[in-house]
């Protein structure tokens, strides 16, 4: 068995929450680096937001039989088909099989039922084990190491689902080097609706106030909190990227400087990868300029502006959300660089993060207000920039908006959410979802 504590071999797994049309979204994501041994990581629940129902923990196993780079994680329902017990209770670890602690049914890492106590004596050979495996996800696909799963057979193929916006979002981590996940997922629970937490990731308006204390104590540069150059990209099915934009000319300068071997500032140095042909090929001329925050609809924040991190906003009912932070590093970094990066990452976000600790209460209070009768008579305000910005596009077909701080992506989130809630199945969603705006937003 593989030692998960061995960072070099670590296959990092990140699961995204599924909700909306139940089981209909591509809902899990996994950063995969080619480990070769069996293991399991239990990750999260599948939440059906229409009904509020939760399916038990999903966990994933690497298929022992496939040692190739194309191998994919197994994503299984953590529910024993006999009485419904949880077959995997650990949060991480290695195992050769999943053993149900109630009556001892045993499942291999593909979820196949391989052993049943009393199969001959009690079941008298009549048990059809083949139909009693752990329920697998309907589709599991990966994009540059991020593995997504869905419970819906009718969901589109992963790349069709992600579209160029979702792919650029993931590229913002995947293209920057030879990335791996650092050990340790920060998890905590906020008494807010998950949509407010997603809304917030697009929100470059709040930092100056919400995180004003971080600026006051010198952790943030107050000047940099005036976000005058914003780029918003809206994607099909609700994906979006919103936030800072890099100037094309600035990137060109960095490229030249790097080519000439000139010394670059730390932050510029962290942008050299954007000037490579590989990045341009992968992400297009708009993608490489993205300095904002992508959300893979519904709830996977690719936090790529600082240290590369992912954050899942996992619903725990309508009034609570769990935040799970995954942190990435380039495996070619020196130990000192790695240590410094980890120190930064662990101080920004997460429950004790010097930025994030101030977010939770704003979200939870905004959530509670939304239940008030008089409060509900008045709409929430999303008017910032509404009707004032034009959608641009370039030859690559990538359309985008360049503007100042705005609420376009937030509105897109709620509009897309409404599309999902109104559709009975993928067919309807494909037919009826909102078209990505092409003129004015």
């Amino acid at each position: 068995m593989q030692d998960l504590t061995n960072r070099d071999n670590l296959e990092s797994l990140v699961f995204m929450e599924n909700f909306g049309m139940y089981g209909n979204s591509h809902a899990s994501c996994c950063f995969q680096v080619g480990a070769t041994e069996d293991f399991v990581v239990r990750a999260t629940d599948w939440v059906d937001h229409k009904s509020g129902k939760v399916d038990r923990r999903i966990f994933q196993t690497r298929d022992l039989s496939s040692g190739t780079g194309a191998s994919i994680c197994q994503v299984l329902l953590n529910t024993c088909p006999h009485r419904g017990n949880t077959v995997c209770r650990a949060e991480l670890g290695q195992t050769k099989s999943f053993f149900c602690t109630y009556h001892g049914w045993n499942f291999d890492l593909d979820g196949k039922l391989i052993a049943v106590p009393g199969e001959e004596t009690y079941y008298r050979g009549k048990l059809d084990k083949s139909r009693l495996g752990l329920e697998p996800a309907a589709q599991v696909e990966s994009y540059k190491g991020f593995v997504f799963a869905t419970l819906d057979r009718d969901a589109p193929a992963l790349q069709d689902y992600l579209g160029w916006v979702g792919m650029v979002g993931l590229d913002l981590i995947a293209e920057r080097g030879d990335m791996e996940v650092i050990d340790g997922i920060q998890k905590n629970r906020v008494q807010c609706n998950w949509k407010l937490a997603v809304d917030n990731l697009f929100d470059w308006y709040h930092p100056k106030v919400s995180h004003g204390s971080a600026a006051r104590v010198g952790l943030l540069n107050e000047d940099e909190l005036r976000y005058m150059n914003q780029m918003v990209i809206l994607g099909e099915y609700g994906h979006a990227i919103s936030g800072a934009a890099f100037d094309e000319q600035k990137l060109a300068e960095i490229k030249d400087a790097a080519a000439e071997g000139r010394e670059l500032s730390g932050s510029d140095n962290a942008r050299v990868w954007r000037t490579t042909q590989d990045a341009l090929d992968a992400m297009g001329p708009v993608g490489v300029r993205c300095g904002g925050h992508p959300n893979i609809f519904p709830n996977l924040w690719v936090s790529a502006a600082g240290p590369p991190q992912l954050c899942l906003r996992i619903p725990r009912g309508p009034l609570a959300t769990e935040l799970w932070w995954f942190t990435f590093a380039d495996r070619n970094q020196s130990a000192e660089e790695r240590r410094a990066a980890v120190m930064i990452a662990s101080h920004i976000f997460g429950p004790s993060g010097l930025l994030e600790q101030d977010d939770g209460e704003n979200w939870s209070h905004s959530t509670r207000a939304s239940t008030g009768t008089v409060t509900r008579r008045r709409p929430v305000d999303f008017s910032m920039g509404m009707g004032l910005d034009r959608v641009l596009s370039n030859n690559s077909g990538q359309s985008y908006i360049e503007t100042v701080v705005n609420e376009h992506a937030q509105l897109w989130l709620y509009r897309s959410w409404n599309d999902w809630m109104s559709a009975a199945n993928w067919r309807e969603l494909i037919d009826n979802h909102s078209v990505v705006p092409t003129s004015t937003v």
């Binding site: 949060e91 104590v217 101030d358 939770g360």
Partner: protein
Amino acid sequence: MYTGMSPGDLMLLQFEVEQFLYTEARLLDDRRYAEWINLLTDDIHYWMPIRRTTVSSQTDMEFTEIGGMALFDDNLDFLKLRVAKLQASNAWAEEPPSRTRHTVTNVQILDIDDNGRIIVGCNFQLYRSRLECDEDCWIGSRKDWLQRDADGSFRLAGRHIFLDQTTILSQNMSNLF
């Protein structure tokens, strides 16, 4: 090693250590953060690893290691940032300020390290009451390193905080442990 100490000396040391820990806790609960910072050594490492549920044969993975992700991983500069933030009046997680209560129990002097620092184990309970009716309670154990200064007083040279929760059931950890 401190095992050569007489019972009387051990008791005195225990007394001094307990009083130091209580004083330090009191400063936090009284929001006297500037005084609290003065109790720390320049090289303090203040660390709370992430805890995970593992099977009993794999508890070596229960905590993240130093160098992995953590919930606190602070040197003195980071702690000063936290304190400055708590005093900033616009650190909204603590504005209005929470009401905290740090309880330190089961104090044991575990060892004296090569630098003469006293290694102290204890249990802690950090209770937080906030606004009208928000309540949080964090429970776990700690390992503290106490340095004796020339004037006989202590400063805190290290604190490892082992929380018993895995998923943190509170909306933030905006307080010091």
